[in-house]
Structure formats: structure tokens, C-alpha cells
Amino acid sequence: MPYILNTNLQTEEMLRELGLSSCEELFHHLPSQIKIKENLNLPRGLSEHSLREVMEDIGSKNSTIDEFNSFLGAGIYDHYIPSALEHIVSRCEFYTSYTPYQAECSQGVLQALYEYQTYICLLTGMDVTNASLYDGASALGEAVLMSLRLKNNRNKVLVSHSVHPEYRRVLATYMGGGDFSLQIVPFTSQGFIDLEFLENNLDENSSCFVLQSPNFLGLIEDLDKVRAILKDKGVLFILVTNPLSLPMLKEPYKLGVDIVCGDGQVLGGNLNLGGPTLGFLATKSEYLRQLPGRIVGRTIDILGNGCFCLTLQTREQHIKREKATSNICSNQSLNAIGAAIYLSLLGKDGLKKVWLYSFNLAHYLYNRLKELELVSLPFGERFFNEFVWHIEGANKFLNRLAKRKILAGLSIGNYYPQLKNCILSACTEKKKASDIDELIDNIKKLF
């Protein structure tokens, strides 16, 4: 039997030690009414060879993103992943270990996560962060629950309409556990947050405001203007952001943000059909004790040498139970270690290049689309690597392009009725100018 080492002889020997003669007897104390008596109709086991064939065959029914000229983004982006990254995270000592509860035999994982925490703080400018959460959407859920704990006499949450629709959906579920209200703040015809609406709808019951920047439409918001409005009302400022937008954009901390969260897939993660990725959440040191999730700290051993361990664990479910900051237990450590490796391999200059190339290619696409009469561009050019464009019959048009092996973007009319026939397209540094020219030529041909 694969993966079971005990031989028949050993099994018999062990059973004998227990005074038993068969494995079935190990379950004698289970009530007979609940025991499975017939076959379950599961398939018979496969050899490793057959399993590989079966799964490769299933895989072959997919068309990978590499088979397309793709401009899909909307939260998951196809950036270049350095070879060294996969080699390191495939080390068995990283991927087959568990949460580093026993510090003395987990120093490697602990140090790597401490470095990850540092990287997130350096990118965002924030004081503190945890060792990762599940993904960007659930990180937003945790950020909002955290702000509701910090402002525990206020139960209203305001959320920008240009926060990723999937994130808003997840947030609503996270808020469903309590008696909280959620108000959507619209965006203006320019695609930016409606500051006037925000100001008029803040009240003494408002706990936090959630803004995404670059927002779901790709636009970079005026965070300082938002801060100015929130400041006097004692409302916490939560920002959802793309960490790969930060190598050139101002640190959220400097713009007065209280909690920053988002998805770290862009930091060396595969697309994986959207998961696993990793969620991050960073904040100011004064809110440290309300931070959910695992945290790694630096300390000393009995000889006084520097080392690492999990710390501030009394916030967590295994100690504080019903009073814990969250129920989160496992996180996405391996992806967090991967993110630290990605940031190390790219380095300061490499990250700026990834930013600059993605930015330039997206703007090249924007300008090429602008040349087409069929296309209109509803918003301005203050975006990083993603923007919205409009074409009549967008859905049909996207299908026709897909048949020509071009995935031009995501149709967003379903999320925003006012943006019917609008498409959200992204460029990463992996694109070439010729890919963009090919898209433009095909648009011309199809119309």
C-alpha cells in the first residue's frame, strides 16, 4: 500500500501488543449503526504512473495563460517569476514543516517570516505587520473587523465602490457575524472616490473607511484628500493596495493610512486560478495588539544569542478562544517566504523596473486604444498598470478575440451597470509592444 510502511508482519505484531487480532477491532467501540458497511463507490487506487497520466490528461483540458496574448489582471497579475524562487520554496524543510511553534527547530522559517514582515513594513511604510493572512479579500475582512474592535462603540463601515467586487463580497460575509452596517461610497464620473459624498456620510457612528488605490478601475486616488476628511471624525483609514504599485508610489503610512492590506500574489506568486495567494495586513504600532494572525518576533536564547519565535500569541485563538482577535490559525507562510525571496531577488532596482515597465506598457496600450474610433476611454491616465476602456458589444467582442488567442481583459459591466461594455485591461512587464500591437490590429480587423 503506498505511503504506509508497516508490513503485514509488523502490523500483526503491533496488534498483538494491543491484544487484538485485526485492525477492524480497533474500531469495536464505535456504535455499529454508524459504521460503513457497504462500498462507498470510490474508485480503486492507481499506481503513481497511472495517476500522473490521469492528472496530466485532466490538466490538458485547460488552456494556460501562456497560450494567449493576455491582458487579464483585476487583482491577479502575470508578472515574471524568477527561477530561483521556486527552487528555494521547494526545499522540503520549508514546505513539509508546520507553523513554527517550536522555535529551536524552526529558526529558518521564523527568520524568513521576520524578513517578510520587514519587507511589508518597508514597502508600505507601516510600523508592524503579521506573518500573512489568507488572501487580499479576507485580509480586508480582518482589517475591518480590527477597526470595529478598535472603535468598539461604532458599527458603521464605509467602503468605496471601486474596491474590488470580490473583496466587497467577502467583506460583507465577514461583517455578517455582527450587528454592523456597510455603506457604499460611489465614485465620480472621473473614476475617483466621491469626496463630497464621503464627507456628508461620515458620522459619529462611522468606524472606518475602506479605499482601494490603485482602485479596481486602475486609478491612483488622492489619499491625502481622503485623510483630511477622515482626520477630524476619528474614522480609521483602511487602504487596499497592490504591493507592486508601491515601489514608486508614496508609502501609505506617509499619507495617513491606519491599516493597509491587500494581496501578495504579485510578489512572486503563480496565478493558480486565484489561489493560493497571500494576504497582508500592516498597521501602526499602537494597534499591534488588535492585529490578527501569527507574528514572528526577534528575541534571545538562554545564552543571550539573537533568535526568533512566534510572539504575542495571547491574541490568538488557541489561548484566548472566544475572545481572540480572529479565529485564524494557519496562514500562507510558504507564499510569504516566497514573497521575501521575490523581493530579495528583484531588489530595489529590479522592483522599480518591474513598476516602470508595467506602467509604460499599460500606457502604451492606453494610447494605442485612444487612436481607435470604436474605443472610448472613460477615465484619465492616472493609473499604474491597469485601466478601463469602452467598446460596443464588449462581451461578444471579448469572446471573438479569445478565439484568436487574445484575452483582452475583464468585462466589468456585470459589477457596475454604469460601466456597461467596459473592459478592464492590465499590462505587466512580461508584455511586449508587439503583443499590444497585435491586440490593436485584431480590434481593427474585427470591426
Partner: protein, 483 residues
């Protein structure tokens, strides 16, 4: 070994030239983005590829892992992670898929989700599964929100959730996240749910009971059908924390035990690796009358094509963006296909056999937490050793010196000086015999030289770590000196 942090190894000017400049004239960001929105400085290191590879490879060598060490961490099911599953999950045909690719182009991925659901329904007796939750705790949250939505739709006001005092900490934490008040039902001396007490606690205000079976003492709740009857008689639902399902594969099904909503930790029972703490994945299964409450989307078929079904009329919404931790689900599906029905049943048998073997061989040296036969894990109490001044944590740390990862310590909370040992089915009798020998040897050391225990472990890269210092003076990120 060079103990510096990665940031301290930076040398200005190092760069790995990983990406291509585009073949168009470049415009600078300040031509489009206002200066006040741009940052002045990016304080990240500059490193060569070898710097990075050597740094993290050396870090990896400081860890115990399943591939290198016996890892009997109770309630975590640290079984062997088959390599073929890694190869399969890393196929580009699974990893290079964008969540917004049209369904036509991801039929294989949808088939994986569909088949996995079918297999888990057969194993558990549930009607449908969602794989959106990325972890067990997220699965609990999903399941309890489903229960909340169920009562709400029936216009019933129920605010209590019953949880045994031996439960995982995630259970009460989840109940709180869902807005419920936790009511604790005590355990009997043997470590099982106190049925008489439970009968008094369950009432018309009870929403659900959350139960792990086998429980955290590794014991099967033999009166599970009484528990189910008591809970259901007041209109409450029974939630199954499937963290310990490994012991029951092919032996019984949650449906037969009376559970209405369940979660399974695929990174425990279904062999996907734990990744230093994640990513894992959970499946949340429900009985037929609750399937309309599951998160959207589910995968269904129509005219021989798979599609994402968003039309669930009472769906609780979403708990994670997109469709769950997909590549973890691929591994779980591969594992089930590899073992098949007979193999999965053998998993349960050998996990229980191995734990009982340890129990039998260690029962005279360490106090057993319960006199009952155990299932997949055994809980020992180090109270006899504590009388000599040696605590459970000291024994755990000593195990490291013998190349054994310590068991879960001080859990469940109702057992003093607890060591919770889960060997899993993938370990052999010879490994167990080595563990038994070492545990006895350590007990001899407790008798002969108890004072030495404060110093253990001796052979690790760092010595006993001061967790008190870490908590009193939190240092959770590096700062450049002088800043």
C-alpha cells in the same frame, strides 16, 4: 553560518537583470502622476542571486520537517506529503490559469473541483461541498455562517453555540466571529462530552453544537448519536470540526453520526503539505437541505461542460476571492485517486493502530490522559515528571535533541502538562519504537538529572528561546540601525 539578516547583506549596485525593458520609449512616472503621490526612497536591499539562494537555503536547513524528522504534532496530522502530488500540482496546466479566464479554457480545473467534491461527498455522506475556504478556521467560519443564515431564514433567534471544553481554540473563536455566545459543555473524567450536562445546556436558543470527533483527547465520542439527538431535538444543528477525520476515513461518515455541516482540513487528512503554516485548504460540506446556503460559486455540469454556478438562492456570499486554494485542491484530488477506497480505509486503520501502539508502550512511563482506547492520537500528561520538577515543555525540548519534533504541548487545556501525540499512518513501527525508546530514556533522565532539563535542547542552532523577552519587548521587524 552567517547570521545576518537579508537586509544586512545588501551591496549597492547588485542586480539580477530579471526582466526585459519594453521596446518603446519610456516615459517617467512624474509625467503622469503628481509628485506628492510618488515616493522619494525605496529602502530595499540589492542582492545577487547567489546571495539570496544561499541565504534562504541555509535558513531552510535550520528547520525540522516531515521529510527530515518524525513530526508527531497532535491535531495537525503531519503525514508524509507524496512527491507525485507536488509534481502534478506544479504542472503549468494548473498553475498558469488566471481566475478570469473564460470557463471554456479551464474545463480541466473545473473537473478537478467537481471530482474532488464527488469523492468527499462519498466519504462523508454530505450532499455538496464548497472548497472556497483556504484553511480549517475559514471552513469553520463558513460552516457557522451557513448555520446562522439557516436559522435566520426560518426567523429563529438563536444566539448560543455549545462547545466542549476540550475543543480546538478555533471553535469558540469562530463562534464569536459569527456573533454567537459560546456555552462550554464540560467533559467527563474519561474525556468525553458530559451527556447529562449537555442535555441541560441545549435549548431553543441554541443555534448549534460544534464537535470534533475523535475529540482532542484522541477519543471517539461513543455517544455521538445521543449527542445528535439532544442537539436536534431543540432545533439546533450539529457542526463537525473535521480536523481529526483521518481516523475515520472509510470507517464511518459524518452523515451517519448526525452532523449537518462539516469542514475537512485537506492539508491534514488529504496529505497536502503544511508549508511552514500554510497554504492549506478546507472543504465545507452540508446536508441536502443546506446546500443553497453554500458560498458561490459551485461547479456543476450542463451538456457535458463544467460551469461555475452562482445561482444559489440563500448563499452566504464569499469567504475568499475566487475559488479557494486551487493547487492545494489538486493535490488532495490526486491523493484520493492514488489511494482509492481501500487505501483510504487503510489510512484510518494504521493511524489508529500507530497511536494505540504508542499508548500501550508508554502508558507505564507517562500518565495517560484517559483510560479509554484512543483513535489517531494519544494524549499523555507529564504530571509524574512534573513532581520531579520537569514540565511537559522541558520534555518536548529534550525530544528535539533526538531529532524528533515535539508533540503539541499543553493542549487540550483540560489536561495538565499535556503532550498530544499524533504519529499518523505514514510512520513505521521502527520509527515508533525509536520514539518509545527515547521517551523512556528521557523519563530516566528526569529521575536521574532533572536539573539539566532547563538547558535543553543542546544540539539546535539556537538554545532555549526566551519567549517572555519576545513578548515583553516586541521586535517584529528589522530597522536600519540609526533610524
Amino acid at each position: 553560518m552567517d547570521k545576518r539578516l537579508i537586509f544586512e547583506k545588501s551591496e549597492d549596485g547588485r542586480e539580477n537583470k530579471l526582466v526585459n525593458p519594453p521596446d518603446i520609449p519610456l516615459i517617467p512616472p512624474e509625467s503622469i502622476i503628481p509628485k506628492e503621490l510618488l515616493r522619494e526612497d525605496l529602502p530595499l536591499p540589492s542582492l545577487g542571486e547567489l546571495d539570496v539562494v544561499r541565504h534562504y537555503t541555509n535558513l531552510s536547513r535550520l528547520n525540522f520537517s516531515v521529510d527530515t524528522n518524525f513530526y508527531p504534532l497532535g491535531s495537525c496530522t503531519m503525514k508524509y506529503n507524496p512527491k507525485v502530488n507536488e509534481d502534478i500540482a506544479k504542472l503549468k496546466s494548473f498553475t498558469h490559469l488566471h481566475p478570469y479566464q473564460p470557463e471554456n479554457y479551464i474545463q480541466g480545473a473545473l473537473k478537478v473541483l467537481y471530482e474532488l467534491e464527488k469523492f468527499l461527498c462519498l466519504l462523508t455522506g454530505m450532499a455538496r461541498f464548497s472548497f472556497q475556504p483556504p484553511a480549517g478556521a475559514s471552513g469553520e467560519f463558513t460552516g457557522m455562517m451557513i448555520i446562522k443564515a439557516y436559522h435566520k431564514l426560518r426567523k429563529e433567534k438563536r444566539y448560543k453555540v455549545i462547545i466542549p471544553d476540550s475543543s480546538h481554540g478555533t471553535n469558540p473563536a469562530t463562534a464569536s466571529m459569527c456573533g454567537y455566545k459560546t456555552v462550554v459543555v464540560p467533559s467527563t473524567k474519561e474525556g468525553l462530552v458530559d451527556i447529562d450536562n449537555l442535555r441541560k445546556l441545549v435549548d431553543e436558543e441554541t443555534s448549534a453544537m460544534m464537535l470534533t470527533n475523535p475529540n482532542t483527547l484522541g477519543l471517539f465520542e461513543e455517544r455521538i448519536l445521543d449527542i445528535s439527538e439532544i442537539v436536534h431535538s431543540k432545533g439546533a444543528l450539529l457542526y463537525y470540526d473535521g480536523a481529526n477525520f483521518n481516523a475515520l476515513l472509510g470507517i464511518t461518515k459524518p452523515s451517519l453520526m448526525g452532523f449537518d455541516v462539516i469542514h475537512l482540513n485537506l492539508h491534514k487528512t488529504f496529505s497536502t503539505p503544511h508549508g511552514s503554516g500554510g497554504p492549506g485548504a478546507a472543504g465545507v460540506g452540508v446536508k441536502d437541505e443546506l446546500k443553497e446556503f453554500l458560498p458561490v460559486p459551485l461547479v456543476d455540469t450542463k451538456n457535458g461542460r463544467y460551469y461555475f454556478n452562482y445561482k444559489l438562492k440563500n448563499s452566504i456570499g464569499k469567504v475568499k476571492a475566487f475559488y479557494g486554494n486551487f493547487t492545494v485542491l489538486v493535490r488532495a484530488c490526486a491523493y484520493i485517486l492514488r489511494l482509492g477506497e481501500e487505501g483510504l480505509k487503510r489510512v484510518a486503520q494504521h493511524s489508529v493502530l500507530n497511536a494505540n501502539y504508542l499508548r500501550e508502550k508508554l502508558k507505564d512511563t507517562y500518565k495517560l490522559a484517559s483510560s479509554n482506547r484512543c483513535m489517531h492520537e494519544v494524549v499523555l500528561s507529564c504530571v509524574w515528571q512534573k513532581e520531579k520538577g520537569v514540565k511537559a515543555v522541558d520534555i518536548a525540548k529534550r525530544l528535539i535533541d533526538f531529532g524528533i519534533h515535539p508533540p503539541t504541548m499543553y493542549f487540550p487545556l483540560i489536561v495538565k502538562e499535556a503532550l498530544m501525540i499524533e504519529p499518523t499512518e505514514t510512520e513505521s513501527k521502527s520509527t515508533l519504537d525509536y520514539f518509545i525508546q527515547i521517551m523512556k530514556q528521557i523519563n530516566d533522565e528526569v529521575n536521574s538529572s532533572p536539573d539539566n532539563f532547563k538547558n535543553y535542547p543542546l544540539t539546535t542552532p539556537v538554545r532555549r528561546v526566551d519567549e517572555t523577552y519576545a513578548a515583553r519587548f516586541p521586535d517584529i521587524r528589522w530597522k536600519k540601525s540609526g533610524v
